[in-house]
Symmetry: C2
Subunit: 236 residues, 2 copies
Amino acid sequence: MTIPDAPESGLAAAATPTAIAEWVADVLRDRIVKGEVPPGGRLVERKISAELNLSRTPVREALKLLHNDGLIEISRNKGAVVTRYDAAEALDLFEVIAALEGIAAGRVAQSIGTAELDELEELHGRMMAFHRTGRHAEYFDANSAIHDLIVERAGNPVIQGTHKRLIARARRGRYLAIMDPDRLAQAVEEHGLLMEALRARDAAAAESIWRQHLSHTGESVAALLGAEDGPAAAQA
Amino acid sequence: MTIPDAPESGLAAAATPTAIAEWVADVLRDRIVKGEVPPGGRLVERKISAELNLSRTPVREALKLLHNDGLIEISRNKGAVVTRYDAAEALDLFEVIAALEGIAAGRVAQSIGTAELDELEELHGRMMAFHRTGRHAEYFDANSAIHDLIVERAGNPVIQGTHKRLIARARRGRYLAIMDPDRLAQAVEEHGLLMEALRARDAAAAESIWRQHLSHTGESVAALLGAEDGPAAAQA
DNA sequence: CCGGGCAGAATGGCATCCCAAATTCAGGAA
DNA sequence: TTCCTGAATTTGGGATGCCATTCTGCCCGG
């Protein structure tokens, strides 16, 4: 099963106070996002601590972290259970994410300087290049980087924190986000529109465009989830 | 110092798995909100567990809860420290809260039935009555109830959960929310406008009105915080 | 009088043990 | 065969002890 890396290896252990718990949370989160632990699957404290050679304490803490990310439910005597992720959930999540990123885009348009705009232009250009050459993985990374940068540059820590939490949940559907060409083209166009709004410092337009962009993404993800949730809900 | 009520008293102890930790969190949250523990004040695990006659485990858990509510920062060897709450923080918080409640209001307007509308009308009427008779405490409660009901009725658990978390932080300034008469009148008017939009099932209007309403509230709170943050930051 | 360093205290993180509740499963009665 | 019962197992919550780190304050040298 190959544990990614021991928590004490390297020297990152002392970085944060609860570095170990966070490392455990990362490991488990990864398994959940990648579907190694399916929805409904159980995460038992004692099993995990044995596997990772740790005591239950940090594992327990990690499970709490995942719980408040909304990834698991913790029930007594049953272990933590991975929550479902279906079309309705995706729509609910992206409705909020759309609002958050929309605000962020508006704020960025309002206060952006030439340096920040250049940074975004550069990132946008790179993304477009990846798009044209069909490098989907790189396209996707650049895309995510743009979204994250906008949220960061909005300068509202509350938005950033909330966004991070929700994205962690929403990313669960990402591995199946092989969007259809139509949606991809639409997304690219929407990114272009945002850049225009940013260049024009048009906050209202930026907010509106970006919020719609995220709404569309949500609908797209929901459609994919709905499609494969319908026939077969259970899996190995 | 009078501990509100022992966690094992009554029988609510077995309600939730982590009932004790949540009770501890409530106690501490209350102290923070009421300012008994000022920003920068320290919350030491061992002190609290001694005071509450508990072991450190649930106290520790409670502190994590407060941490992800954004009320405290936890640092090694220094205890948990109450985070600051100033005008900028309030504006950041209410920017997001405004967006969330705005969406919620829009969704409610979209899908509201006569029964739900009646419930809101009744609550609104009661709030107006309290307003006219100058019963500020009851007015405030009814007001909060309306806000919560709208968020709940929007039917999006993500909105509800996110809102709850942020409100916990925003409420820190509430004890000083003795708003000036002008703002009060404006707030009342905005509530009236929302009811109109709901009656008309006008989602766009409801969203816009409610988002602005919350923005104004945020600005009002920020003004109060800014005013008293200036001269004297420290207190007993 | 002031600054550096050392010893003790303070403090959160981790490990470990015990407990209560719930789940599970075997065995027996109908 | 089916269903009920009860005992063993499973599992998370709580208590306690130890450890590493850091903070505090005192003492000594300059």
